[in-house]
Subunit: 273 residues, 3 copies
């Protein structure tokens, strides 16, 4: 199948199945992630207590692990949910938010990488460098630096090492499954000026991997949806002669909720390298 056919198939399955995407995630962007899943036709659920995450995973079609506001209370929840998802063959998407800032994050991610079979890992360059073992200090959690200068070799090597898809997001997105590697040139600088667009991208990848199609194409479609929706949102700002981030966020959700294959056909910039 061509990329276009793969994407059409995933988008149709999302509409017909409305898959449930379970999130163990942070309280800063949880609302945005839930609205993103709904806007695209899925069903979100957020639950993080170790006493219930396994049951919630069992009802779900994908699991998103986002460590943005991790705490000692939820450390075991990430692992229990991940293991249950592996048992049941449910895709697991990891967002190692802020990896490179604290030891607590490093230890949890190390344990997740050792014990859970991941389907996709999505992070910015600094986070993925830290997954790779290169100790880079991550400044905060909102970074779009780095991918314009490469990252393909690291993505490929990590994808082979962890037997999963690696998605590095930034000005350019780099995606690899260890064999094929792609760059996506969609997006808009404003996406890095509102909080949560990284988390939302991870959630969308979860949604696009939930229907049982290839996770490589799920990751490519997921990041394309976010990048292209950002471009469409910016276009609306221009039409209104506005530059504000409040309006941009509204337009972004408008674009997400209206996303159709045609948007990809008109604007998609995916290059295999």
């Amino acid at each position: 199948m061509t990329l276009q056919e793969e994407f059409q198939s995933i988008l149709e399955e999302i509409q017909s199945q409305s898959p449930l995407i379970h999130h163990i995630t942070n309280y800063v962007t949880a609302n945005d992630c839930a609205n993103t899943i709904l806007a695209l036709g899925g069903s979100p659920v957020m639950a993080d207590d170790e006493k219930e995450v396994e049951e919630m995973v069992a009802l779900s079609s994908a699991l998103v692990l986002n460590i943005g506001t991790l705490s000692q209370r939820t450390l075991r929840s990430f692992l229990l949910a991940g293991k249950k998802a592996n048992e049941l063959g449910i895709p697991v998407i990891l967002d190692p938010v802020g990896l490179g800032t604290t030891d607590l994050r490093r230890k949890l991610i190390t344990e997740i990488l050792a014990k859970i079979d991941l389907t996709v890992i999505r992070g910015n360059m600094s986070e993925i460098l830290n997954v790779h073992g290169t100790s880079v200090i991550t400044k905060g959690v909102e970074s779009s630096e780095g991918t314009e200068n490469g990252g393909e070799e690291m993505a490929k090597a990590l994808a082979k090492r962890f037997q999963c898809i690696i998605a590095i997001t930034g000005k350019v997105d780099v995606i690899s499954d260890g064999k094929k590697t792609y760059r996506i040139h969609n997006g808009h600088e404003f996406l890095s000026k509102i909080t949560g667009t990284g988390c939302m991208s991870t959630s969308i990848i979860g949604l696009c991997c939930a229907t049982g199609e290839s996770p490589l194409y799920g990751a490519l479609l997921g990041l394309s949806i976010m990048g292209i929706s950002g471009e469409i949102a910016a276009t609306h700002l221009e039409q209104e002669f506005k530059e504000g981030l409040g309006s941009f966020k509204v337009h972004l959700f408008d674009a997400l909720s209206g996303f159709i294959l045609q948007d990809y056909l008109e604007r998609g910039k995916i290059y295999e390298i």
Copy 2:
């Protein structure tokens, strides 16, 4: 008094008292619930630690218990707050979010139902079926299915059993106090496509029950406000030739903050059955 007079009285009391509505709620939609209470003229507070919920309840005019992101940390908080509210005669509104998904939720709700006198229980059909004891698997937390095919008898029976108002929301809302039963035909499909509208409905019911008027009319007004505001928000979208969920959410808060009795008079569709 007619419904119109009851509603006018409640709306006037909210404006003059600006009642404090204490929430033990989830981190996904807490911001939306707080803004909803403010938009309608009340004062919201969210606090969930067992060491302070009783004092916070004592300052409040209604208590909203929403188990969306419950955790072992907050289980006792729900019960302590509920008991204190009962002691002080403060209305307690329960939103059994996701009941039907996990054992943790079932156990907490069972304990709340056994130990707390509730004023209103609001949920979607699947959640209320689980309150009823019919084991139905709830898919996620955003559902609007089911009420178009009835629910009146169950609502009536549950209202008698728990001596409270039962409010089932969906395409049609069903409300009963065990004697009188109503259907509300307001609302818009987009309300089920953004997160939090169920939680917000529960918060509004809390606000409408906080002024000491009849909780049956509080529940009817609360759900009418949400349904009618959704309709008004959709009208604005049509005027702008937009279909986006980002814009819809903005218009929804505009409609909530401008809600007046006249909106009910023009659009309200409440039928006693």
Copy 3:
């Protein structure tokens, strides 16, 4: 330097440094605070586990302590983070949300005041009265009452006592460092009708104190940015013949993200008294 020159310097430093602002904050308004920091050119991070807050502080340029949804789980985090910030000479901004409601809040704030050197304390009149030791019952967390009737003497006395800047916000803002005292007459009533504008003000003060300039001017600029942005947002509403709070919030973020010195020059109303 004149106020204008001080403000210009702070705004330029924020743009060039994009300082990281670490928040231990509440789950109701965390998203708004993160977006506020980003809109103005800074980098936000929210983390609250006691095992990682010290490391996160060490990477940051300012620490914001907001007790909105404090819990027993995070009590030590506030103190550990504050002490680490003191050790490293990083500014600490305290928002004693809801002080005057519960004993848990009183105890934590008493301990913070005793053990942490604060740079700025920002609260509404009722909260600051409680910092002062005047037991006033705080109704909820959204209040703009009180500053129109004074507060200057209390602000001055508290500033001397705690060797920090005191910022009381309300219809009029009162700011003192114990020697100089100011009143700011900017703002709009709608700022008190959406949740989070108090928290966002505290975050902005954190950002304006993060660049190493005088915290007195940081606090003055921070509150001016919020008040003036609220006025600009209201102007947009008028142009659109709207009065809705949903639109107001969008325009507020538009105004924050477009804030430039010129906005202060045209609208700033700061008076030394």
